[in-house]
């Protein structure tokens, strides 16, 4: 039998209720047996060293208030650090010092309170365990009956069940009234634009020069040496009104391979220039920039989910979750020797979408 001066009465009550009995509801497939080992009841309360030894008790008290004082010191230090280690725009290290010393002060302030309070609770506050009795979560039968009655009365008084026309029309109205909110959300994107049209075109046009990303310098075919790779944007991109949106679609990779390494479809024979090929840099999986080029294998690797594309074979997918080859940009050179686009891409770039065909 448990000994507990604090709440002995409750404990006695708890011990009478044998484990497993008095529980409402079906046990289902649980095995209920009378052959269970009996619960010995709460073990005897053990005293802590701080209860037995006044010296230890005093010591614990000292520890607790010292921690609280340390916390005050930490707060003061944090304020002082705010002033003593200001940020000096000339010196990046000052940011680090500012962060470090304010942080240390605050850490001390917080930890002092935290550890102090927990220690106080553990070592000094009365540690007698208490016992609360549980009651079934469900309301008592009387309460439930009354609840049912209330609903019945309300139903009777309002005629909610009886007056079917009123009820049903109300339900209809309640369903209809939020619908206007749905159309309001059309305003989230500009009107008069269709995403499908937008996805089908990029900033590339016939004659647009290929320029370096990000400088915007046009590229001469002669500069593209064997094995090199250029990150390319259309010339004049920087001045376009929706620069980032255009860039997100128009980025291109330019590589020069040995012409004999390229396996080219007959209809795309003239899309390259002397072994120089241009492909969309937007991954056909979910749209990351595909920009890791392995010179040896002529593979492009997408850093996001590791799809790999074979440049020698029209950027066909050779590994990873992407399904479609990277779209090719047909290129040529102008009279000054600069690389230009023959046209826009012949298919939408980037991730697949429903209306794509």
């Amino acid at each position: 039998m448990a000994q507990d001066g604090n709440s002995g009465r409750e404990l006695a009550a708890a011990d009478q209720s044998d484990h497993g009995q008095e529980r409402v509801g079906s046990p289902g497939t649980a095995v209920v047996t009378s052959d269970r080992v009996t619960d010995p009841g709460l073990p005897e309360h053990r005293k802590r060293v701080t209860d037995l030894d006044p010296k230890k008790n005093k010591r614990a008290e000292r520890v607790v208030y010292t921690l609280f004082y340390l916390s005050i010191a930490g707060s003061v230090f944090a304020i002082a650090a705010y002033m003593a280690w200001p940020i000096n725009p000339e010196d990046l290290m000052s940011v680090r010092a500012n962060n470090l010393f304010i942080g240390l002060g605050l850490t001390l302030a917080l930890m002092g309170i935290g550890i102090g309070a927990v220690h106080w609770g553990k070592a000094l506050m009365a540690d007698h365990e208490g016992v609360d009795l549980r009651h079934p979560v469900r309301g008592t039968d009387a309460t439930r009956e009354r609840a049912v009655e209330i609903f019945a009365e309300a139903n009777e008084e309002s005629g909610f069940g009886r007056r079917a026309l009123i009820r049903n029309s109300l339900i209809g109205a309640l369903i209809a009234f939020p619908l206007p909110a749905v159309v309001l959300f059309r305003g989230l994107a500009p009107e008069g634009e269709n995403p499908v049209d937008l996805l089908n075109e990029t900033a590339w046009e016939k004659g647009t020069r290929l320029a370096r990303d990000p400088s915007g310098q046009p590229i001469k075919a002669s500069e593209v040496t064997l094995g090199s790779v250029f990150h390319v944007i259309p010339e004049g991109l920087g001045d376009m009104p929706h620069m980032l949106e255009e860039k997100a679609k128009a980025i291109v990779l330019l590589m020069r391979l040995k012409p004999e390494d390229l396996v080219e479809l007959p209809e795309r024979k003239n899309w390259s220039y002397d072994g120089i090929v241009a492909y969309s840099k937007v991954c056909t999986h979910v749209g990351c920039p595909v920009a890791l080029y392995e010179q040896q294998t002529h593979h492009l690797l997408c850093p996001c989910h590791q799809s790999q594309f074979d440049v020698t074979n029209h950027c066909a997918v050779i590994f990873g979750p992407a399904a479609r080859p990277l779209p090719q940009l047909p290129i040529a050179i102008d009279d000054e020797g600069y690389l230009i686009a023959q046209s826009d891409f012949h298919e939408p770039v980037g991730p697949s979408f429903w209306e794509r065909h």
């Binding site: 705010y82 917080l110 009365a126 937007v282 697949s352 065909h357």
Partner: protein, 527 residues
């Protein structure tokens, strides 16, 4: 007492009570009992880190500008001086480099957010493996689960706000995934971004979600969650004197309040310490968002990893043209599998309740070994999640261990499919083994480590009997038998019955019954 002291405190208390009836609240809750166990602290960590998130986040809102308007950076961080970027990025840099303590608060906010999601996850594991989700707490499991999803949404929206290279790339991935959805995808992406990706609206919109809508929901659900904790009273681990009808522990005032209150400051302190010493999300290294630069080896925050991993593990070429439309199964399958996984976790309590048919309230927790099948299912789920999560770092694994990308992906695909089964069987064996061991200890005592030599010359180890308190912990668990399928009143065995029967067999076929009084008595006779 109050009458006698009659001082300021008593006066104030009286003033308040006459206007609020607060004494009733104190009477009701002041000495409410809370049981003590370290694993009960996980939920507290989640709660407290959320408070820290609210505090540090409010500070950040005073400085952050949720705008994608283009500015030229003109702050203290020299390498980015003059670079074109959004006001969001620029103000985040200002918080980091020009406001004293700003970087600290940013890092507190980010670390607290990581801790928030992590502690919710661990808390859920604790609930799962101890069976705390059983009646009457099934709905609170659902509420907690919603909180987990909300926490991830909060994390992702927050991660996207600075408009740096990484967060922009994360949004790009979201955009691509949304576009992969049949019929509505293209339009949802178009509306979400206010036009084409990236547009100039998304940061402002995510900001509204991040600081208004989602936190309001989180607060509401936390409140609901805690109301139910009070209504149900906390569960307790098995132990002598702890029954289904009582709760043994410490009263709110003073001990529990001191410990829990102190613990809040400790959690806050630990977060502060991390923010002091460990840089998190150094956006200045990434630079502003630009659709073009490469970012190899970059990672989403850890809790998004499992989704990212799912995208990586899908087999190639799963996209088809049908009826003039594109079906992106390379996106739909991972999303579908994640959805299914999440749904299973969500409804697990109801499945188990249906299988056992147990309609009683359960306030005593299971030791995981005493519910071997559940524990094994949990281990399988954890393995599945871990494989997805590891896949999010597949490139790092490949470069770090100098193995091929293909090798890593194929290994992880194997782990994803076969791993859960292996984990299931191993865990179940371990649980049953531990149960057998418990039984052994109850019947024959534990090995004392003391070897004695018998007169005959042989050596034996002395077994000491366990005391009755320890014994109670070992034997007091719920035990279920497989369901016997019986025909219903019309003499028919329904399909539901059959399914329930086979699930029940799967759950409880291998069972080790708790040692009974009789068995103990008999074993004493043997000695």
């Amino acid at each position: 007492m109050a009458k006698k002291s009659g001082g300021l405190t008593a006066g104030a208390a009286n003033y308040l009570d006459e206007r609020t009836s607060i004494s009733a609240v104190v009477k009701e809750f002041g000495r409410k009992i809370f049981p003590d166990h370290w694993s009960f602290l996980l939920g507290e960590v989640a709660l407290y880190s959320f408070v820290v998130i609210l505090l540090s986040g409010s500070f950040l809102t005073f400085f952050f500008q949720a705008s994608m308007a283009e500015v030229h950076y003109d702050g203290s961080y020299v390498p980015l001086k003059g670079v074109a970027m959004s006001a969001a990025m620029s103000s985040t840099l200002d918080i980091s480099f020009d406001i004293r303590g700003g970087l600290l608060m940013r890092q507190v906010h980010h670390w607290a957010a990581l801790l928030f999601v992590a502690s919710i996850g661990l808390h859920m594991l604790r609930i799962f493996f101890t069976g705390a989700f059983r009646k009457p707490r099934e709905l609170n499991w659902v509420i907690g689960f919603v909180l987990f999803i909300l926490a991830m949404a909060e994390g992702f929206t927050g991660y996207s706000l600075p408009d740096d290279l990484l967060s922009g790339n994360g949004l790009r991935i979201i955009d691509g995934m949304i576009k992969g959805f049949p019929i509505v995808g293209t339009w949802i992406s178009f509306l979400l971004f206010g036009g084409e990706f990236p547009g100039t609206d998304i940061v402002g919109r995510l900001y509204t979600l991040h600081i208004l809508l989602l936190p309001a929901l989180v607060v509401a659900f936390i409140a609901l969650h805690l109301v139910f904790v009070v209504v149900h009273k906390h569960t307790q681990f098995p132990g002598a004197g702890r029954t289904q009808q009582n709760v043994v522990g410490y009263p709110v005032l003073p001990v529990y309040a001191a410990k829990a209150g102190g613990f809040f400051f400790i959690v806050f302190g630990v977060i502060m310490l991390m923010a002091t010493f460990f840089t998190i999300n150094p956006i200045w290294n990434y630079g502003p968002y630009d659709p073009s630069p490469v970012s190899a080896g970059t990672q989403p925050d850890w809790y998004i990893g499992f989704a990212d991993g799912a995208l990586r593990l899908v087999p190639p070429h799963l996209e088809f043209m049908l009826f003039d439309h594109t079906f992106s199964f390379n996106i739909l399958i991972p999303v579908g599998i994640l959805g299914l996984f999440i749904l299973t976790v969500l409804i697990y309590p109801f499945i188990e309740a249906w299988v056992t048919g147990d309609k009683r309230e359960h306030h005593i927790l299971d030791r995981p070994r005493n519910a071997p099948t559940r524990t094994a299912i949990g281990a399988a789920g954890v393995t599945f999640y871990a494989a997805l999560w590891a896949a999010a770092s597949s490139d790092i694994i490949a470069t770090h261990f100098m193995v091929t990308m293909e090798g890593v992906i194929h290994t992880l695909q194997f782990c994803l499919i076969v791993g859960p089964f292996i984990a299931y069987f191993i865990t179940k064996r371990i649980c049953l083994g531990l149960q057998k061991k418990d039984r052994e200890i109850v019947l024959h005592g534990f090995e004392s480590g003391r070897i004695v030599r018998l007169p005959g010359g042989e050596y034996i180890e002395v077994h000491e009997p366990v005391d009755e308190y320890e014994r109670w912990e070992l034997v007091s668990y719920e035990d279920y038998k497989p369901l016997m399928i019986r025909p219903n009143s019309r003499g028919k065995i329904t399909t539901t019955q059959r399914v329930r029967g086979s699930l029940s067999r799967w759950f409880f076929e291998d069972r080790i019954a708790p040692t009974t009084k009789n068995e103990i008595e008999r074993s004493h006779g043997d000695h």
